[in-house]
Amino acid sequence: MIAELGLAALWLAAALAALQLYAGAMAQRPGGEGAAALVRPAAVIQGIVCAFAFLMLLWLFAITDLSVKLVAANSHSAKPMIFKLAGAWGNHEGSMLLWVAVMALSGALIALVERRLPEKTMLATLAAQAFVGLGFYAFLIVSSNPFERLPQPAIEGLGLNPLLQDIGLAFHPPTLYFGYVGLSVAFSFAVGALVTRQVTPEFARVMRPWVLGAWVFLTLGITAGSYWAYYELGWGGWWFWDPVENASLMPWLAATALLHSASVLAARDALRAWTIMLGVIAFSMSMVGTFLVRSGILTSVHAFAVDPERGSFILALLTLYIGGALALFALRAGTVSEGQRFSVTSREGALVFNNVMLSAILGIVLLGTLYPLLTEAFDVRVSVGPPYFNPVGAIFAVPMLLVMAVGPLLRWRRDSIERIRRPLILIGAIMLAALAAVLALGEISVLPLLGLAIAVGLAVASFLPLRGRRLTRVPLAVWGMVLAHFGLAVALFGMASESAFSEERLAAVAIGETAQVGPWEVALSEVLPAAGPNWTAIEGHLLASYAGGDPIELDPQSRSFWAPPQETTESALATRWNGQLYAVVGSEAGAGRWQLRLWWKPFVTFIWYGGMLVALGGALALIGRVIDDLRRRAVLARIAERRGEEAV
């Protein structure tokens, strides 16, 4: 019954989306006022109904209703409740439903509160939103029905992939979907603005919170995903340039560019066509990424259940949305004038530079990810990996990071290098000093060396926009920028340090023996069996002491799951402020010895602290912008009120 309710809700939501699209389109014509009145209510009800459908799915997973195909395939009665619930979105169908539910709720929110844009633009935006939603509903109902019943209820569920039974991973995919949804809203705003040719600073202000929100979620999602890969995969790698990772990075790069160009548009009424373009691209990248991940046409370590039919469906949606939006863009972009002019040495100038660099990096990631697909069409298989992405990306990343250190110091419209000469010299001196210091430490390769020097300089530079200002008076959005830029410097430092200074130790150790890695001395005290609800394991007890200090106990495991049968390694980490010890116990090496894999990774944690700082900065900026908007709205309301009184 619950499944049928959910499916009915899904159909109803689809019908409402169709109504919303139709009414929104009719409202664009003269005499469409009647239709116009339907759009916002349709969006609100659609949001509620679709959220209800998702709640029904959660319920089915909570009670482990094994007559539902999706539950039987992805859950198990022995799983802890939190993972039962996470199972609802830990699969293709459920995750699509979560996505569309959040998208519908966002549509409802805009329909309820957003009144700043011309009404026609708003209705076109909501129609675009409904158009996107409709495709997803069709996708769910036609080829990915999450509520499908089994002819015969299963006796027991097939379980969830044990690797996915991890709290971090349970919340990693939804984070990314929230990001994609935010970008879909930005996309709808861009399409709405193109339809009515209303590309104004107000448009950028309305779109910006959604982009910021999306960007915060994408940043968190990528950060969490990277940390998960790091501690779960058992080899200490944190980024592999795997197609699925790239699929999450590409929307982030586009969103970052969009965020900055929207700021220029909002503050200075410049970069109109460029901002619209990025609004289209950012969501396109989310869709392309989704297509690559779910169609399975690229070889990746991560995989959803792969199905060509689904791939074709997503590809059809891509054609419709992206193709349509890009065609609309090509037709209309010429009518969107460029907007205000500015000088090279100005805030806008720096932002344009970084926008172009970010776009180029995006182009390279896209190229490297898709290239194997292209050659396979000619029956040639190639691999594109870190040795390509790192140096080629750096060609654009290094100038971008340098300009990023300077840009926030420049004034809008027109400025001179002369005016910021002193902070420039300071930043340059710090970078050179860092370079020299790192060189003195020993021989390291070029990219980590540059990374460390730029990170140190950028960390200092990111705080310079605060100089000479009363800190209590600095707007929240500026604090957000400072924190986000500082966070990027921190993350960069972590990446470069990990790459330059990591030490590895592989050893076959007998009980009571020790192994050295970096400043750590690690003793294997015993190896014992351990058991969990659906696995058994061997657990190594290690005593690790840093530079002769008090030993810390670490218990890495090598687990064997039985539903489905699979082996995983559970690494154990000892975190210090200056890095992490990473320990893995492997198989028995014979003669009472056990395989130990140990790494000492100086400052590796900075990668994820940095990511979190970036997200925090984004969140601060978002809060600051929203508060400003609310204040402005209150002021406008008061003025309107006063005018009303005067008129009386």
Binding site: S295, P308, G323, L326, A327, A330, L370
Partner: protein, 175 residues
Amino acid sequence: MRWWWWIPLMLFAGFLGVAAYQLTQPKDDFVPSAMVGKPLPAFELPAAIEGMSGVSTADFQDGKPRLLNIWASWCLPCIAEAPQLDQLKQEGVEIVGIAIRDRPEDVAAFLARHGNPYTRIGADDLSQVQLAIGSSGVPETFVIDGKGVIRYQHIGDIRAEHVPILLEKLREAGE
């Protein structure tokens, strides 16, 4: 209207074309050997079990085409292909085996249970020969001609429908 506004759409159309084409293609994840058409590299493997001889490159130089079967006792698809190997043997095909990462007692048990179609079995404990001939898994079967040149590679277990193909390839190799 300026032409460059259409560039993004053009690029996207290109992507769509490739993606659509790839969707229609069957996805195989096999990595074919680039050694097909080249002579076997020089190697010499000890026997995998007592009572049979090992395998070396010289065994492939006598003018007679053969199959070189890469397998292992721990590999499930190898059980599935055992009847087909037996059938090939019945057809008079000489099959040389290379057992990957295997123990003599396991090999012997496997052969006792599923039959022994091999004339020789080499033990490749470190996958050295497997790597040298560009094989990326078990089971794989190579057609080697009488001069020791690799002529054909079959990836995966041999099903009934593959037997005629292999016989045909062997015939071609013998010409």
